[in-house]
């Protein structure tokens, strides 16, 4: 190995310390994008983290289509038409929790302390992380849709419908992630972030119209499903992908996104500056 202990170069060191005036303050966009770049580098160096993005949807699609499809919709191919957009939403919403886990890991390792002492627009590290996550969400979406197409899913909304559906889902997930940035800042460990996220996400993801038509559910459960923001995202994405007009549901999805962000972005920023 030649790369171990090279000595510190005294003149060079003096030269780097003597450099001119400090550069002008970076804009919020520059810093956010730089932190987004960091998230992409992490995916490149630790590609294992994409297992969750890929494995979970495969299992869901195969399990629900072939195990329950016949019983729920009469045939597996018909059920796939119904369930695939729902699984797309469920997959992406489920992986939003990794935002919080990654953030919590950063805190434990001390990277966070450095970032918080930088003279930059405060939310940029978080916004950057969320932008990097958007890339993971896109990968997951492409993966689920491709898998669906291979198994026989045919979106009546065509390419435009699919792209519009994914775009709505991205916006919703970006907003939804702010819940996990908040949890990630408050929780003691990455495991507890995981635990809390699962506790919240599991009921929300399953008590929704992802797998079955809610009209078969008891009234009280239907009420819950109708309030659940994930339900509206499912209706909107499913509608767009099947070419139905679902303007109302898209509007509700955006309203839910705005409400979630209005609550959790300020909570996150407060926890971010108060941390310790």
């Amino acid at each position: 190995m030649t790369t171990t202990e090279a000595p510190v170069a005294a003149e060079k060191l003096d030269a780097v310390l003597a450099t001119g005036p400090r550069p002008p303050r970076a804009s919020a966009v520059t810093t956010s994008l730089a932190f987004g770049w960091r998230a992409l580098l992490r995916i490149r160096h630790v590609p294992e983290q994409l297992f969750d993005v890929t494995l979970f949807p495969v299992i869901s699609v195969l399990l629900f289509t072939y195990l329950f499809g016949g019983a729920i919709a009469g045939s597996t191919s018909e059920y796939l038409q119904f369930v695939l957009p729902g699984i797309l939403v469920q997959t992406v919403v489920m992986i939003t929790m990794y935002t919080g886990i990654a953030l919590n890991t950063d805190i434990e390792k001390g990277v966070f302390d450095r970032i918080r002492t930088l003279p930059i627009w405060r939310p940029s590290a978080l916004v950057g992380a969320l932008l990097g996550d958007a890339v993971r969400y896109t990968l997951a979406s492409v993966f689920v849709v491709t898998l669906g197409l291979v198994l026989g899913y045919r979106p009546d909304g065509g390419l435009v419908g699919v792209v519009a559906g994914v775009a709505v889902l991205m916006a919703f997930s970006f907003a939804f992630s702010w819940i996990w940035t908040w949890v990630g800042l408050l929780a003691r460990s990455a495991q507890s972030v995981m635990g809390i996220s699962m506790m919240v996400l599991f009921p929300l993801a399953f008590l929704s119209p992802v797998f079955v038509d809610p009209s078969t559910m008891p009234d009280w459960l239907q009420t819950f499903v109708e309030i659940n923001p994930i339900s509206h995202a499912v209706y909107a994405v499913r509608g767009l992908m099947s070419g139905d007009s679902v303007g109302d549901e898209i509007m509700w999805t955006f309203i839910a996104s705005a409400i979630i962000m209005a609550i959790f972005a300020p909570l996150t920023m407060r926890a971010y500056s108060r941390r310790r």
């Binding site: 030649t2 790369t3 171990t4 202990e5 090279a6 000595p7 510190v8 170069a9 005294a10 060079k12 060191l13 003096d14 030269a15 780097v16 310390l17 003597a18 450099t19 400090r22 550069p23 002008p24 303050r25 970076a26 520059t30 810093t31 730089a34 932190f35 770049w37 960091r38 580098l41 992490r42 160096h45 630790v46 390792k109 001390g110 990277v111 302390d113 450095r114 918080r116 002492t117 930088l118 003279p119 930059i120 940029s124 408050l186 003691r188 108060r274 941390r275 310790r276």
Partner: protein, 331 residues
């Protein structure tokens, strides 16, 4: 015309019912190295975190170059850098990527960030490791990268929190060289350490901190003279001889002789080094056989004993539960 880099008044930080920082008054002049000496859990890190705007004080005030750390946090951040006790770079990224990222967020253009980063890597002897993930670095390399990351833009004030803890002697020496180069270029360094010799080597002034309070402050020579010029450590072959050894050394040096943590160890504070040979001769004449002995600077333990009447380990035990878990207040 030296200004004031740091000034605190009655600074307090509370974790639960434990005061980690308990009324610290501090004036650190601009330029040079100011040493913050104390055992684990004494409140060094907490104080630094308040000064670096990572934590809000529960009481008192603190300012850096005249800017309040709470009300003018952003101004403070543009003048300081922090190299924390734990690695503060991203271990999954390479050394180059870490520095480039910081260069970008600190306002360098893409090209300038690259140049700056290459210069830093070269100056810190990390060019060959530039494209390796930081988790594959040795402790010394990691520490150097940590410090390089703190001077992507040369700060006016650099906080170094125990920069050499856990490093081998050679890496330690390298870190010292870096600190000296920094101060030669006008950066003020606030350095925390558990080692008296490190503070002695680098710092013009030293504050000794214990259980959240400053118990002594001054130049390193003033501090040492308050402790005695040195200490004699003897390691006995037979621990059973210890009472006799303590007895002999007490007669030779006075009251400040105490048993070490090893049952075969005795340490005596020595004000007049010319008494050392005679004391050793007396031990030999009385048949107290030594496995080894050393005469040297007082250790932190001895400084502590002299200043507080208890050893650093006792402080550690008393303060450990909350100090090492500053997140304790969070659910």
């Amino acid at each position: 015309m030296t200004g004031i880099a740091i000034e605190t008044h009655e600074l307090v930080k509370q974790f639960g019912d434990k005061r980690a920082v308990d009324g610290i008054d501090l004036v650190v002049p601009e330029g040079g190295v100011y040493g913050f000496l104390g055992p684990n859990g004494a409140g060094k890190t907490t104080t630094i975190q308040i000064l670096a705007t990572l934590m809000r004080p529960d009481g008192g005030t603190a300012s850096v170059f005249g800017h309040d750390v709470v009300r003018e946090a952003d101004e403070v951040r543009s003048m300081v850098s922090l190299t924390g006790q734990y690695s503060s770079v991203d271990e999954d990224l390479t050394g180059r990527e870490n520095l480039q990222l910081l260069g970008r967020v600190l306002g360098y253009s893409r090209a300038d960030a690259r140049t700056r980063c290459d210069d830093l890597l070269e100056a810190f002897g990390l060019t060959d490791a530039a494209t390796k993930q930081v988790k594959r670095y040795s402790g010394g390399m990691r520490r150097r990268l940590d410090i390089a990351a703190s001077i992507v833009v040369t700060p006016r004030l650099l906080f170094l929190d125990e920069p050499t803890t856990g490093l081998d002697p050679r890496s330690r020496k390298q870190v010292w060289d870096i600190v000296r180069a920094l101060t030669a270029r006008g950066t003020t360094v606030l350095l925390t350490t558990q080692y008296l010799d490190e503070a002695d080597q680098l710092a013009e002034r030293i504050a000794v901190i214990d259980t959240g309070r400053i118990i002594a402050e001054g130049t390193s020579s003033a501090l040492k003279s308050s402790v005695g010029s040195g200490a004699l450590h003897v390691h006995l072959i037979d621990p059973g001889d210890r009472p006799r050894a303590i007895d002999i050394l007490t007669r030779a040096f006075g009251d400040e002789v105490f048993p070490g943590s090893d049952p075969a160890d005795v340490t005596g504070r020595v004000d007049d080094r010319s008494k050392v040979p005679a004391a050793l001769a007396t031990l030999a004449a009385d048949g107290v056989e030594l496995a080894g002995f050393s005469y040297g600077q007082p250790t932190l333990d001895e400084v502590f004993l002299a200043l507080t009447g208890h050893t650093a380990e006792e402080t550690l035990e008393a303060g450990d539960s909350t100090q090492n878990d500053p997140e304790g207040a969070v659910a």
